[in-house]
């Protein structure tokens, strides 16, 4: 009798210890392979895109979903790797404090107004707690520094809190530089990375672009210490620094990834506000045309006749409104300043009108308006209903990225990208054409299991609420592209991620 109970007990024990097992379990290391690459110490260098900056701020969940961290998690499915360390912010509000004073804004969230219309607003649900002076103990695998340009990665003192006053340091790098004089590149090399990624150069044109082209194209100026924040970096400066970085990183690493620079005109920061943003009824359009009639039919032909401007420029400076949507008016610094000449004979215009006309033209479909100017268009100057910004009051330089300014950016970007592609090939590194990828997002999108990811602002899924930086889902798309290129380049088999499992924009009405 006792024996029977014993057998029952043994039976029960055997039962508890049995677990379901797959024929080919994916959670074992031989399920995937790292190929010829060694991901055991992966270091990511770059700017805000690498740091996981989104919604105009850096915050924890953005950092967690940055493409380098997504990559590290997938790398870990192929081999044992060292922990991928991130200089985490202190919260999800995002603002930076310097000696207790807030120096950068909190993140943007999607808020809804009383009419039910959503728009990006600054999150105020909690106080920012990230103090720049609290330097974190590294080393850090993600060395992405928001705001960094190509030449900043080699700048000594870029992480020195003393240099913040002169704007030659970066508060984000101050937080985690290994010493005040260490460079980003040194902090990377000190870790002896077995694999690296480099995505730098975006800010070498982006500052110029987002400022509406207020900066200077520094092409042929080889001294970056003389550059302003909104300038375009000389492609030769970019090339020599970029190639030094690649050489030093590639020397001891098993491999790496170089990511090129997307065309800034493809991001929603520039594609969301329509250039013909001004709605007019027939009566108003007629009245405006009346006002500009003398300018179009007498002043401009007169200036051509006097040889002051070309016929071509006169044509470009014609102002015409019609019922419906109208192109904005702007001051274009590339046009001839006519403010003095029209005050003289035979035009005899008053100084105020002359100032209005000085470099006036109407926008064309190739001009772009930054997202941050959306709220400025159509506002009224000094309570005067006849002084409408973008119509009767032309937009200033910072509110329009003109076609001429865009071509300066395009030229520089193309040159940077040639350099990046050439170095990737020369060093046998994986080359990611992020430019092509963002163009695809802007033109048709990229399909995933829940639909299509596009560049459309707020709803497209790829871009965060600042219109420039990627959402977690956008980062997943980039990470997948990097994974497939690594797989090809290094004969690896790393699984991709499902972009549908990554979030897009965050809604909150905790705003001012």
């Amino acid at each position: 009798m006792k024996n029977y109970f014993k057998y029952i007990a043994i039976m029960a024990l055997g039962i508890v210890s049995c677990e379901p097992e797959f024929d080919n379990p994916v959670d074992e290391k031989d399920a995937y392979t790292n190929g010829e690459a060694d991901f055991s110490r992966y270091v990511a260098l770059g700017n805000s895109l690498t740091a996981g900056y989104a919604d105009n701020a850096l915050y924890i969940t953005g950092q967690e979903n940055a493409y380098p961290n997504i990559l590290a998690q997938q790398f870990e499915k192929t081999q044992d790797i060292e922990e991928f360390t991130i200089p985490f912010m202190s919260d999800n509000a995002g603002g930076l404090l310097l000696a207790g004073n807030q120096i950068t804004q909190n993140r943007l969230v999607l808020a809804v107004d009383a009419n039910g219309d959503p728009s990006p607003r600054v999150y105020t649900g909690m106080q920012p707690t990230t103090e720049v002076g609290n330097v974190l103990q590294g080393p850090f695998s993600n060395l992405g520094v928001p705001g960094a340009k190509s030449y900043h990665l080699g700048f000594s003192g870029y992480g020195n809190v003393q240099n913040l006053a002169t704007q030659s340091a970066n508060p984000y790098f101050v937080r985690f530089a290994s010493s005040p004089e260490a460079t980003v590149l040194e902090d990377a090399l000190a870790q002896n990375p077995t694999f690296f990624s480099l995505w730098i150069g975006n800010n070498d044109v982006l500052g110029y672009a987002t400022s509406g082209g207020t900066g200077v194209d520094q092409t042929n100026n080889t001294d970056p210490t003389t550059y302003g924040e909104n300038d375009i970096t000389d492609p030769n400066v970019f090339g020599s620094l970029y190639s030094q970085m690649v050489q030093s990183l590639a020397t001891n690493a098993s491999g790496g990834v170089l990511i090129n620079i997307p065309d800034v005109a493809s991001v929603p920061f520039f594609t969301t506000v329509p250039i013909n943003a001004i709605p007019l009824d027939a009566a108003t359009a007629g009245a405006l045309n009346q006002q500009f009639s003398a300018y179009n039919t007498q002043v401009l032909p007169g200036l051509v006749q006097a040889g002051f401007i070309t016929a071509e420029e006169a044509q470009a400076r014609q102002i015409n409104f019609a019922e419906g949507q109208n192109y904005v008016t702007l001051q274009d610094e590339s046009l001839t300043d006519i403010s003095q000449v029209v005050q003289g004979q035979p035009f005899n215009l008053d100084p105020q009108t002359a100032a209005l006309l000085s470099q006036l033209r109407q926008a064309t479909p190739t001009d772009l308006i930054p997202l941050t100017s959306a709220g400025f268009l159509g506002t009224i100057v000094g309570d005067n209903p006849n002084m409408v910004n973008g119509v009767s009051v032309p937009l200033g330089d910072q509110h329009v990225l003109t076609n001429a300014e865009q071509s300066l950016i395009r030229n520089a970007t193309q040159k940077y990208n040639q350099i990046i592609a050439g170095l990737a090939q020369a060093n046998g590194l994986a080359f990611i054409d992020a430019n092509a990828m963002l163009n695809q997002l802007a033109n048709g999108g990229i399909p995933y299991d829940g639909g299509t990811i596009t560049s459309t602002f707020a709803t497209g899924g790829a871009f965060s609420l600042d219109g420039i930086h990627l959402t977690p889902r956008g980062n997943a798309v980039i990470a997948n592209e990097i994974i497939s290129t690594i797989n090809e380049t290094y004969n690896a088999d790393i699984p991709k991620v499902n972009p549908g499992s990554y979030a897009t924009v965050t809604a909150s009405n905790e705003v001012q």
Partner: protein, 419 residues
Amino acid sequence: MKKLLFLGLFGLMAAVTYAGGYRVSLQGQRSLAMGHTGVAVVNNAELAFFNPAGLVYLENKINVAAGASAVFSNVKYQNSEFGLSSETDSPVGTPFYVYGSYRVNDWLSLGLAAYTPYGSSVEWPTDWAGSHLVNNIDLQAIYIQALASVKISDKISVGGGPIYVNGSVNFNRNLNRTLTDIDGNRSNVTVDASGVSAFGWSASAMYNATEDLRFGVNYRSEIIVEAEDGDATFENIPNSPLTPFQDTNFDASLPMPAELSVGVSYKLLDKWLLAFDYNMTYWDAYKSLDLDFANPQIPDSKNPRNYKNSSTYRFGMQYLANETITLRVGYYFDESPVQSGYFAPETPRNDAHGFTGGLSVNINDRFSIDAAFLYNRYEEVDESYAPNPGDFPNYEGAPFKGTYKTSAFIPGLGVTYKL
């Protein structure tokens, strides 16, 4: 307009899913040991469930059978495209039964029964890859039934009686694949309803063709359990009119499907008994699980299930080893009611091969101990939850694909008492 769009995005509400085939066939250790056959077997008070018509043929005046099983069942999920893997850490389920019958006279026996034919308890790791379908679920239903068994002749009897069901459900899932609060905590909903009652019935007949050959048929009605004013609790919801999820009540109904069993048993050489049962479970009653939230701001939740009727084929054998020991073995093939493309991870169940065994030990003339175990073998299966938009145009969720492997080991103990 934009608001509507966002509502739509977040509107993939509450896929409360109570398990692919939440039938738990563990209604008697003696029957279970024989592949859960019993519609044509006269053995002990387990007849109260399998075929109440047979109670009148039990030899003793008072018959009692009671027992419980311990369900050790876990499921692994993996997706090789994305390198994802998860495994459930489900609590041990303990379905039970208590049956009693009393012979009033030569042609009439009365009985009482309590048993748990439906239930499910599955716990996935919180926020796992399929957390938008289920994080965890606990479904319980207790059937309590009064029975009468009437002998019409020595060969034919009928039986049956009304059933009272008391059920409860607790279920948690994330609202969708990505929604979080500002700190990245996944937005989720828990629905909870308990003390939900409903009524049904069962009816059966037994025919003794010869002394050794019996036939049986049993039908248990469908019982729709309707939860009214259950509690829906939302957690980690962004503070935004775009996500108007607030704690509210819900109404939902869940079918406990009807089951028809027919079977035959044959006694061989005195010591051997062979049994065969065929079950048809009318799962096609389970088309969709719809949650109607009391708060009109919260979109109702429609969750396609699209189950099909399913058959189970059961074979059992009993051997009287000696005065004390009776040995039993069995096998069954259990067809899953879940159709391809509707494979949801609450109880991801594909076809199962059940292998059973057990024994009874007679302690004395009146009292015996019944032990049984069940091992369920499931094939590894590549499946998805991707309702056909032609059949369920309102379902907006993305497909959820992967490979599943289930294991189930179920030991059980019971007692039989006769007076």
